[in-house]
């Protein structure tokens, strides 16, 4: 190790190799090594962002509405924002010579008038550039570890599938509202709104995955709950990596059982009693 460190310091006296490309990546050293072991290398830090408008009044509920109703402008804005951001990330990835982007961080912001979706990840390609470029770079929010495991199991990521729905809960009737005062009981109007939003969003996400010729979705993340600026509107946004089988069949991974001999035996405050 000491020799390596000395060689590393000695290398600082020399300029970088002529013609070497400047590579940017947000991978840690463990992730870089793991990726390298799987035959991939990073090419560039890539981003994609979309900001969509939501017209004023979209979150208002018409007086007397007694059924949950979808806030279509908000739903459409978030759906389009995911699609545009992914498309832009894919373009940047292709320009950087990447076959796809891994470890994509997804940032979602829903305001009263705008919906913003931003993706940041690292473009990767087979070591040395690979035989041919893919027609459509993949996008995945899987970590490098999960990406490598997925490949090993005979699957490949295709795209980041997403679905969104915003549903406005109906008003409670006067009698129901008074009856529920000071009682901790279920609020069926809110439950129903959340349930409706969930079903619509999940269905849209699955349809999105099928549209990219995927067979399934892994590692689904969910953002749900009432909006800060419109408490009666429940949002349900879900996204995950759409995958398809590229091997003849799923490659079973047989993990080895390991019994570590360094069990935790640290200080516990309860032992003082």
């Amino acid at each position: 190790m000491n020799d390596d460190m000395r060689a590393a310091v000695a290398a600082l006296h020399l300029p970088p190799k002529a013609g070497s490309p400047s590579i940017t990546s947000d991978l840690t050293i463990d992730e870089s090594l793991l990726l390298h072991g799987a035959g991939f290398e990073p090419t560039d830090l890539v981003t994609g962002i979309s900001v969509q408008a939501i017209p004023y009044g979209s979150f208002m509920i018409p007086y007397g509405q007694n059924e949950p109703a979808e806030v279509t402008y908000a739903t459409q804005a978030v759906t389009d924002a995911f699609r545009s951001a992914a498309g832009r990330l894919r373009n940047v990835c292709g320009q950087a010579g990447g076959f796809g982007a891994v470890g994509v961080e997804v940032e979602v912001e829903i305001g009263a008038q705008t919906a913003k979706v931003a993706f940041t990840g690292t473009a990767v390609r087979p070591i040395g550039g690979g035989a041919k470029e893919p027609v459509r770079p993949f996008v995945t929010d899987l970590s490098t570890k999960d990406f490598v495991l997925l490949l090993r199991a005979g699957w490949e990521p295709v795209d980041l599938a997403s679905g969104a729905s915003f549903v406005a809960a109906p008003y409670r009737g006067l009698r129901q509202s008074i009856a529920q005062t000071t009682q901790n009981v279920e609020l069926p109007n809110l439950t129903q709104a959340l349930q409706d939003a969930r079903e619509k969003a999940m269905e849209r996400m699955q349809r999105d995955a099928l549209g990219s010729s995927a067979q399934g979705i892994v590692d689904v993340s969910i953002i749900d709950g009432p909006l800060g600026h419109a408490h009666h509107v429940f949002a349900f946004i879900c996204y995950g990596t759409a995958v398809r089988l590229v091997a003849d069949q799923h490659q079973r991974i047989e993990p080895e059982l390991v019994l570590p001999l360094d069990d935790y035996s640290g200080f516990e405050a309860s032992s003082l009693r």
Binding site: M1, N2, A7, V9, S22, S25, I29, L259
Partner: protein, 288 residues
Amino acid sequence: MTESGATEPAWSSGLSTNDFAACLSSGLRPLGFVQGCSVVAWLFYGAPFSTSGIGFGSYQQPSGYFEQFNCPHGFVSTEHRIAGYNYQQTWVEDAWNAAFFSALKRLTDEARRLGAHGVIGIVERAEHHGDISAFELSLSGTAVLVEGADAPDSPFTTFLAGQKLNKLVEAGFAPVSIAQSFVSIGVYGSCITEYQLRGGIGWGFGMAPTGEVDQVARAHTAARMIARESIRKQLAGDVLHAASLSARDHESQGGPQIEISIRGNRVRRFKDFEQLPLPRPVVRLVDR
């Protein structure tokens, strides 16, 4: 000799115990806890340029990224915006760069005075002090000596320490320096952008156009691309490792202000590295 009986003066370090142990095992000797800081005035956002491109007084001409978004309506009224602008605020970036590079220089100067070969485990603290319109940037880390190595022309710097640094070196990368880029873009919305950000035209004239807020999306995209290109220029053929991108947007001067910073470790390959075998998957038979 010190009062305690030690034969060498004591040193300080910002390393955790684990990082300290890893540092010693890889032949690095801590010399001292070093710091560099800078406080700059942070007063002015906005558009100090004339759109005709002619500077006036303290006004500057636009430099860097600039994009104009024309009103599609023709003349509506004198209060109607005929154009919107996205403009790179190089004067804000200059203030940030002055703070960062001054702090870095002070950190490395202090390390050099200790005879260090590098500074590891650098921690950055950046704070806006609104009450005094100032921005503070501090860097601190542990100056180290590589046993048996010749001193480099300038001490290397890295955010890494401990096992992460050891693995980096073992994988064939030498730490060169920490690298950062900062981009600030102001958005002066066109009429359409204003309608979209407000949600409507106002006075009951109807809804804002739906779809992409093109001007803001383009500003965000440009900021990210410029930040990446700027940090890539600093690399000169090296690799940026473990980069992180952070975005901050806030309202000022009547429009969104978008600030993107990218930071990471500039590293240089000094030896070829054999491809690792794929790791074996294991299940640990412990609860925690």
